[in-house]
Amino acid sequence: MIRSISKKIILAGSYGVGKTSLISRFVYQRFSFSYQATLGVRIDRKVVNLPNLTLNMLIWDIGGDVTQAKIPESYYLGSSGTIYVFDVSRPNSFEQVGKDIDLLKDKMPNTPILVVGNKADLLEPNLLHALDQQLPVPVNYYTSALDGTNVEETFLQLAQSIAQNA
């Protein structure tokens, strides 16, 4: 019998990096060019079928701010995993990546955190490689919500990590 569980995950990161767009691509398979800020949190649900496990992902899309320190602590409550998103074309969106990851690990110990560079379609591969060498933390995926590159892979990776801990 396949077990079914619900797990909360959060998407964190600076404003305008494409967190909502990644969720729209993953959950609804759509993309919008218009930018609409997320106020507070938007919660979506996506059922992911894993071997011997059905994971009901409760995705908390946290409205972005320049640093995670400004995010209300209650938003992190009960999270089983995090996707930290930055914009590869906007340096000020990953200037705080090191500190933010440390903060998230402090808030949510023993939970998986994936670092994702979104809007990869805006950079040439060589520039993307150069950026990867400069970042203080390893990047798990370079994604594009526009064309869907690595979006599915990112969420599935996190789902598998959560399933291993469950």
Binding site: Y15, G16, Y35, Q36, G40, V41, N92
Partner: protein, 358 residues
């Protein structure tokens, strides 16, 4: 605390109170914002917000600080809801959880607009800065391109100028190759070499002195004296006189034209520079020599023997002839070596004379 009591404490706000048990089953609600029917299904399975918090809500204690979640947006019954949510344990019944949903659309809209504006401004300013830098870089690139364009134009002009002579050279080379290929050039070179060889075989040229034949001396002297007589410079100078020659039938073998010029120049200079009114000319003819003696008076100092050499140097040298001027004796002598004087009727030495009077 009952639902009504809870509502009273939040009077003035647009809110909904939901009371559930620790398994998420509905106990009571006012349905102000959401219509939540009493069903046999746990709200934990129905409402995504509660599902996310089910573990913490089930373990919530009365002494715990209320959990506050501002601005939570979720979908319930295909309707998007935005609420501030507060969870705490009912102080009068620890098995119950109170969920207060607070919604102020005006505040929410104002807050959303502020955040949207702030984020867009920040993003635009960043991309604006990038655009400004990009524009500056493009201007630099444009300037560099312009310089490069003018350099290329100059190079093209120089190349064209260089290409034209090279094309001409190419044509010349092609022509030469064509001639070499057809053996024309070799034949021309061989012909040229042959001509040079032939030219070297030709003996060196001698000075041409005119045709040599026997000349009657008397008529020759008469001709010269007449020529001097009609020379305008001498008549104006004023030379008035005549040349009287004794008759002689002597014939001399010599180049007539050259001899006539020598004789004329010699006499002309003497007459021109002499102040005497009478000049006499005597001829002495030998076998190979003709001697002309000219008597004159008061030869002008400006007269120089070298004048004669300037006039007839080449001929005199070759013919071993010479001119002597004896100023003291007031006599000039022109001795001419001739090839032959053995005219048929000539005497070994004959004397002729001519008088030129001023």
């Amino acid at each position: 605390m009952s639902l009504d009591a809870l509502k009273l404490s939040y009077i003035g706000k647009r809110l909904q109170v939901v009371i559930i048990d620790k398994n998420g089953f509905l106990i009571d609600t006012c349905n102000t914002l959401l219509t939540i029917p009493a069903t046999s299904i746990s709200l934990f399975d129905n409402i995504v917000l509660l599902d996310s918090l089910r573990h913490h809500l089930s373990q919530l204690k009365i002494e715990d600080t209320p959990l506050f979640f501002p601005n939570i947006e979720f979908i319930y019954n295909q309707q998007t809801i935005v609420v501030d949510s507060t969870f705490f344990v009912n102080t009068h019944n620890e098995s119950q959880i109170v969920w207060i949903l607070d919604n102020d659309p005006y505040d929410y809209r104002a807050l959303f607009n502020m955040q949207q504006e702030r984020n867009e401004l920040a993003i635009r300013s960043f991309y604006g800065h990038c655009n400004k830098k990009m524009v500056e870089n493009l201007q630099i690139i444009d300037q560099a391109n312009e310089k490069m364009y003018y350099t290329l134009v100059q190079y093209t002009a120089v190349q064209e100028q260089l290409a034209q002579p090279i094309q001409h050279l190419d044509n010349v080379i092609a022509t030469l190759q064509e001639y070499v290929g057809k053996m024309y050039l070799r034949e021309l070179i061989e012909l040229s070499n042959q001509l040079q060889t032939n030219i070297q075989k030709i003996p060196a040229p001698k000075t041409y002195r005119g045709e040599e034949h026997f000349v009657p001396l008397l008529s020759l002297l008469n001709g010269v004296s007449n020529a001097i007589w009609v020379t305008p410079q001498l008549t104006y100078n004023p030379i008035i006189g005549i040349i009287n020659l004794q008759e002689s039938d002597t014939n001399i073998l010599l180049p007539e034209i050259a001899f006539r010029q020598i004789l004329y120049n010699w006499l002309y200079l003497i007459v021109y520079y002499s102040k005497s009114a009478h000049i006499s000319l005597n001829t002495i003819v030998g076998l190979n020599e003709l001697q002309l003696l000219c008597s004159h008076q008061a030869l002008n100092p400006a007269y120089r023997e070298s004048y004669h050499w300037q006039l007839c140097e080449a001929w005199l040298n070759e013919s071993h002839s010479h001119i002597n001027i004896d100023e003291a004796a007031e006599q000039s002598c022109l001795t001419i070596t001739v090839f032959q004087t053995n005219a048929i009727n000539a005497t070994p030495i004959a004397t002729s004379s001519a008088n030129i009077s001023k």
